[in-house]
Amino acid sequence: MDIIVCIKRVPETAEADLVIDASKKAIDTDGLVFSINEWDNYAVEAAIQLKESVGGTITVISVGPEENNEVLRRALAMGADEALRLTDPAFEGSDAYAMAKILAAAVKDIPHDLILTGVQADDDGFGAVGVALAQMLGLPYAALVTDIQLDGETLTVHRELEGGLEEVDTLKLPALLTIQTGINEPRYVSIMGIRRVARKEIGVKGAGDLGLSEEAVGAKGSLSRIEELFFPPVGEGAEIIEGTMDEKTEALVKILKERGGIA
């Protein structure tokens, strides 16, 4: 089975002190650590596990500058076979729709039975590229996938829904899945893996190579644009829990239970 995994390089924002830049439309990424988008890491692992069980190839694709080679090489070290980086000044400012167009143009040239993406990206969080890509390619898709079983040409997948519901779907290959975190335990790359791919060539393609006009991608080819980014004002009614660590923990657990946060 030939699998394509689309991966993104994102800044780690969970514990960083974020600063909004002068344009007020993006965060200042100076000094932030970048890594593979968490969801995409699970998607790479899911692809490797499928390859290990039925054979085939894995191609990882990322859109962005040379720094993206880091995440591509990491995926190769984990077990992907080929890597492709899509880059062009014209791609700047692409929204999820334009991004899906870029990826669609690239995957058309690569044999594939299955395409995997993460559910969403850590930074933008639109959760749209995967499903938009499926639509453009006319592929059946499932989003928020937490389990994959393959039987011949049929995929049986579990999807995580609101309220703890789980849905089971079947899809015919070729198909696209957006992968939820927790579906597996992504392996660490070993030094042996890193050494194996140290000199492996990473393919590069631009708008021209993909047959995309400048109008089709970037800000011009997008359907949406970011108007402003801001930190929400601090709300009223915050409750500060006082006491020793044990008392605070106990009080917090009580509140979470009362309000249905935990069972």
Partner: protein
């Protein structure tokens, strides 16, 4: 002059950091409390290729260089010092075996160190009456048939009780000049006459065992001799030079863990109506500590670079070790100070960093021995 890591070294650093934050850091507090040996995490580190970093791939090593080794030990040290020292020493045991052992011994033991079959390896040099003055060891190895019979007691042996193999130093020629009659042997776990004594109750790095080892008529065959008879002291010095890069790297990691934690704490701790990071008293501690640790990092990496490129690095390794361990000790003391009374409690990790760092100025040669080595090298014109 290039200060950047290679792409490969950077990937190894990221991988190790990622693994250490998820698996080693969360375990460190409990390991310190219980003194439980981290078998499972050591096995996983081996599977990632981190136990034979300078061992040929022919023997299952990852052959990735001394700079990568240094970076890895720093990252592990940031998360769990006890796991860090075990990893550092085990790597060095593999290196010494690769450098000096017979083919049969290399084939037998190196793959098992590299793949984690052995939880650790150890060096048995120190004796109750031979610490800094290592050449004064009294353990003996006497020829007996096609081998040697070892007798003596070793003390303070890191990972002694959990080692698949131990390198043991003993006097083979009592009539030779001091330091000249010593030989080194590979002794496998479970050999008759090889007994493990007590595990010391230590201030820090508590999950790393520190054992007494007793040899009573312990016989090993000729093939277990490292190098030639009388090469022992040379082998010990070679091991110590390389080991100092490891301990310097480890100390750096502990120091960084402390000051990173304390700096984060200072940003969020309010007194007198504002974050204490606004006070110059705190800022200077932050500035001094990061400056000193950055200097330590470059000393350690330069010593690693010299060794990796086959150049002389004895003086540089000692400079790196003494400076990094003392800078890291200052870092942990300042970190406790920055947290105030909280820093003195076990609710926060900085007291553990302080306890863990102390031994880095003691083992693999005390600070005083490092200064002796540095001065000797300089005065000799090196």
């Amino acid at each position: 002059m290039i200060f950047d890591l290679t792409g490969e070294q950077e990937m190894i650093q990221h991988m190790t950091r990622d693994f250490a934050e998820r698996h080693l850091k969360p375990a460190a507090e409990e390991l310190d409390r219980t003194k439980a040996f981290p078998f499972e995490n050591l096995k996983r580190l081996a599977q990632l290729g981190l136990m034979g970093m300078n061992i040929s791939t022919d023997y299952g090593g990852s052959e990735v260089g001394v700079v990568a080794y240094s970076i890895v030990i720093t990252e592990i040290g940031k998360a769990c010092a006890a796991t860090g020292v075990t990893t550092s020493v085990t790597n060095m045991v593999a290196e010494v075996i690769q450098e000096f052992a017979t083919d049969a011994i290399k084939k037998e033991h190196l793959p098992k160190i590299c793949d984690g079959t052995y939880p650790a390896g150890s060096f048995a040099l120190t004796e109750p009456s031979a610490g800094s003055d290592a050449a004064s060891i009294r353990a003996t190895a006497v020829r007996d048939g096609n081998g040697y019979r070892i007798n003596g007691t070793k003390t303070m042996i890191t990972s002694g009780e959990h080692s698949g193999v131990t390198v043991v130093w003993a006097v083979t020629d009592k009539s030779a000049r001091k330091g000249k009659g010593i030989s080194a042997f590979v002794v496998e776990r479970g050999r008759e006459g090889f007994k493990v004594g007590k595990n010391e109750e230590k201030l820090g790095q508590r999950a790393s065992t520190t054992n007494e080892l007793i040899f009573e008529d312990c016989w090993v065959p000729d093939e277990n001799l490292l190098g030639k008879e009388g090469d022992g002291f040379k082998i010990a010095m070679m091991e110590l030079d390389g080991g100092r890069i490891g301990i310097g790297s480890l100390a750096l990691g502990i120091g960084l863990a402390a000051i990173d934690y304390a700096t984060d704490y200072a940003k969020n701790r309010e007194q007198f109506g504002r974050s204490i990071s606004n006070f110059q008293a705190i800022q200077w501690m932050i500035a001094d500590t990061y400056t000193e640790l950055e200097a330590a990092r470059f000393l350690v990496l330069r010593a690693a670079y010299l060794k990796e490129n086959g150049r002389k690095f004895t003086k540089e390794a000692s400079m790196a070790k003494v400076f990094a361990s003392e800078a890291a000790r200052r870092a942990t003391i300042r970190s406790v100070q920055m947290l105030g009374g909280y820093g003195y409690t076990k609710d926060y990790p900085v007291e553990r960093f302080l306890r863990d760092v102390i031994v880095t100025t003691l083992y693999e040669g005390t600070s005083e021995v490092q200064r002796m080595v540095i001065a000797r090298e300089i005065l000799r014109g090196g």
